[in-house]
C-alpha cells in the first residue's frame, strides 16, 4: 500500500490504478446500498461469483459492488460495462442467463431492461431512463462507480485531487474565500451559508478547533445522507479535510446514527484506508497539514441531530440541546469552536474546489446554488434518490423523474422538510424548489425528504402523525415543546377519533404560536409547522372531521366502516378467508356480509378483494346500510346505496 507524500504521489497512484484497468474488459457493477441489500443484493452477488466460476470467467470478468444508485424502487440494479447495459430488479435466478447471454454473447435480455410505461419501449442505458435522464448528478455521481470499501476506486475517479489542490496550491484563506464565493448553503435543513459558518469558527478564539459531520439523518422519509455516506464515504472525508484545512482544525468527528449499520461499517473502513494512504494523519500529502477523524455512533434520538445536542452526545453526555446564546461555531464540543455541517454539504466541497466557485454558482437559483439530493418517496411511481439543480419545479421532480402518482391516483400534497416542514398542495406544484421558495410556502427545504401523498392520505391524520413523532422525540427540557406537543397530540387524536369540537383548530393555532416563540431549540420552534401548513391548505378536511365526523380520505379508523356492496360481490370467499377476526359471513357464490360488531377495520378485506370486483368499500360520515336479508344473498340484481370506493 502506497503512502502518499506529495501531490505527485497521488497523481502517480491514479495513473497506476487507471493504467491497470482495462476499459474494454467486461465489468459487472451491482448496487449494494441498504435498500438493495434488503431486496437481495447479497444473493445476487453470490450467484454472480458462483456462475463466473462455473463458466470459467472469474479472471475475464470484473465485479464491483457499488453504493446506492438511487433507483431503489427497482433494485437490485446491475450495470454491465463497457456497453453500460442496465438491468433492474435482478434476482439470483437471472444471473446464469446474464453471464451466458449478455457477457458472453453480447446479447441484451429484454425482460430485465427498464420498460417505459409511457412509450412501451425498453431502455438499455441507465442514463436514458426518465428517472435518471432529468437529473443532474454531481454529488451523487460517484455512487455508480465506486466500491465504497476500496479507496482506489475513488482515487481513480479523481478523488482527493481537490484536497491536494487545496493543501498545495491554496492558503486556508483562499479555500475559505472560494467556498464563500460559491455561496454553498447548508444542506442539512437550515440553509445557512457554509463559508460564513467556517469563517466564524476559524476566527473564534480557542484551541483546538473541531469540524463535525452530521450524519444523524433523523427526518423520517429522508435517506440521501445515508446513501452518500455508505456509498461514497471518501467524498465526505475529502470535503471534511478541506474544511478542516480552511478552518485550522486538526480533529474531526463524524456522527452517524447506529440505525445505519452499513454506513457505520463502510465509514470505518474508509477511515482506516485513508490513514494507510496518508490522506489522514500527520503531514497529509506532504503538506505539513495534520488531521484525523473519529467516528461517533448516535444511539437513536431525533433531537440529537440538533447541533448543540449532537455536540453534547460527542462529549458522552445525553444528547439534549442547550440554549445557544453563543453559537456552537464559537463554543461547541468541550466549549471549543466547532464547525458542524451535514454530509451532503461536505460532499459538495471537493466539487467546488476542483471546478471553482464560478462553475458552481452557474447552477441553481439566485439564492440557492448547486444541486440538491432529494429522497423522493411515498406514493409516487419511481421512488428513490434524485439529484437536481436548485430551482427545479416540484412538478418536474414528481412527474418527469418520479413518473407521477402510483396506481393512477390523484396527487394530494408533497411533504418537505420532515417534521419541521409542511405539506405543499397541488396549486403550488410549479414552484421552483430552493431554500427560499419552500419557506414562502410554509414549508422548508429541510434535509431533502420529499414525501408524495395521494388522495388516500388523510391530512389530519398526517398532522397527528408528525405531532406524535415529535412528542416521542422531544427531550422534554423546555416546557413549550414538551407540553405544547402533548396538548396538540390530544387535540389531534380527538379530531381523528371523531371527538373534535368547534374551536379545536383555533386552539391548535394558539399553541403553535407559543411553541414557535418560546421553545429552546429548533425542534420545538418548528414542531407546529406540519399542523399549521395543513390547516392553511386543507382546512376543509379538518372541518369535515370535526363537524361531520367524516374522514374524506377514508383513513381514520374511528370514522370509517367497511362494507361489502351486494351489487358487486361475487361471493369468491377471498375476504372471508383472509379476515383475521372471522367477521365476514357468507358462502361460495353468495353475497358476503361484514359483521360490524366484530370488524376491527384492519382493511385486509379491502386489500384482497379482486380489483375487477371492487366490492369492499369504505364508508365515512354516513351509516352503514343494513345487511341484506339472508334469503336474497344471491349475486347481482339488487340496488343499494353506498359511499365511494
Amino acid at each position: 500500500m502506497p503512502l502518499l507524500r506529495s501531490k505527485e504521489d497521488l497523481k502517480e497512484l491514479r495513473r497506476e490504478i487507471t493504467g491497470k484497468r482495462d476499459l474494454n474488459k467486461p465489468y459487472i457493477t451491482l448496487c449494494s446500498g441498504t435498500a438493495c441489500h434488503a431486496t437481495g443484493s447479497d444473493n445476487v452477488a453470490a450467484a454472480i461469483q458462483e456462475e463466473l466460476k462455473t463458466q470459467g470467467l472469474t479472471e475475464e470478468v470484473g465485479v464491483r459492488r457499488t453504493g446506492c444508485h438511487g433507483f431503489c424502487e427497482r433494485g437490485p440494479i446491475i450495470i454491465i460495462y463497457p456497453e453500460e447495459i442496465c438491468y433492474l430488479n435482478v434476482t439470483p435466478e437471472d444471473v446464469p442467463e446474464i453471464i451466458s447471454r449478455t457477457i458472453k454473447e453480447k446479447q441484451i435480455i429484454d425482460r430485465l431492461l427498464y420498460l417505459d410505461p409511457n412509450t412501451g419501449e425498453r431502455i438499455v442505458h441507465e442514463q436514458d431512463i426518465p428517472f435518471y435522464k432529468y437529473q443532474t448528478r454531481l454529488v451523487f455521481s460517484g455512487n455508480l462507480w465506486v466500491d465504497p470499501k476500496n479507496i482506489e476506486d475513488y482515487i481513480a475517479l479523481g478523488g482527493y485531487r481537490a484536497l491536494a489542490k487545496a493543501l498545495h496550491e491554496k492558503t486556508p484563506e483562499e479555500v475559505l474565500t472560494e467556498v464563500k464565493r460559491a455561496n454553498l448553503r447548508g444542506r442539512g435543513g437550515g440553509g445557512f451559508p457554509a463559508g460564513r459558518k467556517w469563517e466564524t469558527t476559524r476566527n473564534a478564539s480557542g484551541d483546538p478547533k473541531y469540524v463535525i459531520v452530521n450524519c444523524d439523518e433523523g427526518d423520517p422519509g429522508a435517506y440521501m445522507d445515508r446513501s452518500v455516506m455508505e456509498g461514497n464515504p471518501h467524498r465526505v472525508l475529502e470535503g471534511l479535510a478541506i474544511a478542516a484545512y480552511a478552518i485550522g482544525a486538526h480533529i474531526g468527528f463524524i456522527y452517524v446514527r447506529q440505525e445505519y449499520p452499513l454506513a457505520v461499517n463502510n465509514l470505518a473502513i474508509a477511515l482506516e484506508q485513508a490513514r494507510e494512504y496518508g490522506l489522514l494523519g500527520n503531514d497529509i500529502l506532504g503538506s505539513g497539514f495534520e488531521f484525523d477523524v473519529k467516528m461517533h455512533r448516535g444511539a437513536g434520538a431525533f433531537v440529537s441531530g440538533e447541533s448543540s445536542a449532537l455536540m453534547n452526545a460527542i462529549e458522552g453526555r445525553v444528547g439534549e440541546p442547550r440554549p445557544k446564546y453563543i453559537h456552537t461555531s464559537e463554543s461547541g464540543v468541550w466549549d471549543k469552536p466547532s464547525n458542524l455541517n451535514n454530509v451532503e454539504t461536505y460532499a459538495t466541497v471537493p466539487l467546488i474546489l476542483e471546478k471553482g466557485a464560478d462553475w458552481f454558482t452557474a447552477i441553481g437559483t439566485e439564492g440557492s446554488k448547486g444541486t440538491k439530493i432529494f429522497s423522493l418517496v411515498g406514493t409516487v411511481n419511481n421512488t428513490g434518490l434524485v439529484e437536481v439543480p436548485m430551482g427545479t419545479t416540484l412538478r418536474d421532480i414528481i412527474y418527469k423523474i418520479g413518473g407521477g402518482i402510483r396506481g393512477g391516483k390523484k396527487f394530494k400534497g408533497v411533504q418537505t422538510g420532515g417534521p419541521s416542514g409542511g405539506i405543499i398542495p397541488e396549486q403550488y406544484l410549479d414552484s421552483p424548489v430552493d431554500f427560499d421558495e419552500l419557506t414562502k410556502l410554509s414549508s422548508m427545504m429541510g434535509s431533502g425528504g420529499m414525501i408524495v401523498m395521494d388522495e388516500d392520505t388523510c391530512i389530519v391524520d398526517l398532522a397527528r402523525y408528525f405531532v406524535d413523532f415529535l412528542c416521542d422525540e422531544s427531550c422534554g427540557k423546555c416546557v413549550p415543546c414538551r407540553e405544547g406537543l402533548k396538548r396538540m397530540r390530544e387535540i389531534l387524536e380527538d379530531i381523528v377519533a371523531g371527538r373534535g369540537k368547534e374551536g379545536d383548530i383555533e386552539l391548535l393555532e394558539e399553541i403553535a404560536v407559543v411553541m414557535k416563540n418560546a421553545s429552546l431549540c429548533a425542534l420545538g420552534t418548528t414542531a407546529a409547522n406540519p399542523t399549521l401548513s395543513t390547516i392553511r391548505y386543507f382546512r376543509d378536511e379538518y372541518e369535515a372531521h370535526i363537524k361531520e365526523k367524516r374522514c374524506p380520505a377514508l383513513v381514520c379508523k374511528d370514522l370509517i366502516s367497511y362494507y361489502i356492496d351486494p351489487e358487486k360481490c361475487i361471493g369468491c370467499l377471498k375476504c372471508l378467508k383472509n379476515c383475521p377476526e372471522g367477521a365476514i359471513e357468507g358462502e361460495k357464490k353468495k353475497t358476503h356480509v361484514i359483521d360490524q360488531s366484530k370488524c376491527v377495520k384492519c382493511g385486509i378485506c379491502f386489500d384482497v378483494c379482486p380489483p375487477k370486483v371492487g366490492a369492499v368499500m369504505k364508508i365515512s360520515g354516513e351509516p352503514v346500510p343494513p345487511p341484506v336479508a339472508e334469503a336474497t344473498r344471491e349475486p347481482g340484481g339488487r340496488k343499494r346505496k353506498g359511499g365511494g370506493r
Binding site: E315, G316, V318, G319
Partner: protein, 153 residues
Amino acid sequence: MVEIDLKRVDEIIDRYKGEAGFLIQLLLDLQSEFNWIPREAIARISERTRSPKSHIYRIASFYTAMNLNPVGRHIVQVCLGTACQVRGAPKIMDRIEENLKIKQGATTPDMRFSLRRVNCLGCCAMGPVVVVDGNYHGKVTPATVEDILDQYE
C-alpha cells in the same frame, strides 16, 4: 434472573480506556452484545469508570437504541417513518400487535418476540418496511404479516 458474563462487560469497558466522551459508545457496544443493558453491567461500568450510576441510567434511558429490560429472541422493528406511514405502515403495526397480542415496546410472555417502532430506517423506497433480527422485509401488507412472523421461531 438472567446471568451476565461480567468478563464480556470488562472487555467492552477496556476498549474505551482513556477516551473522553466514551460512555454512549460503550453502552451501544453493550447493547449489541447482550441486546439489552443489564443492571449488573451498569454497576460494573460505574465502578470501573468512576461515573455515577445515575449518569449512566440517564443516558441509557434517554436513547431508544438502548434497552433496560431483557428482550425476546427476535426483535421486530416496524418502520413508521413518513414514507412508510403514507404507504400503510399503521395498518401493519396494528396487525402485528393483534397477531402477537402485545403493544409496541413490549415483549411476548414466551420471550419469542419484542416489538418496536422505529422512526425511519432509510429504506423509504420499499415501504412499508418490517425488520426482524436485521432482515429487511419490504412492501409488507397486512395479509403478509403472519407469513413473515412465522419465519422466526
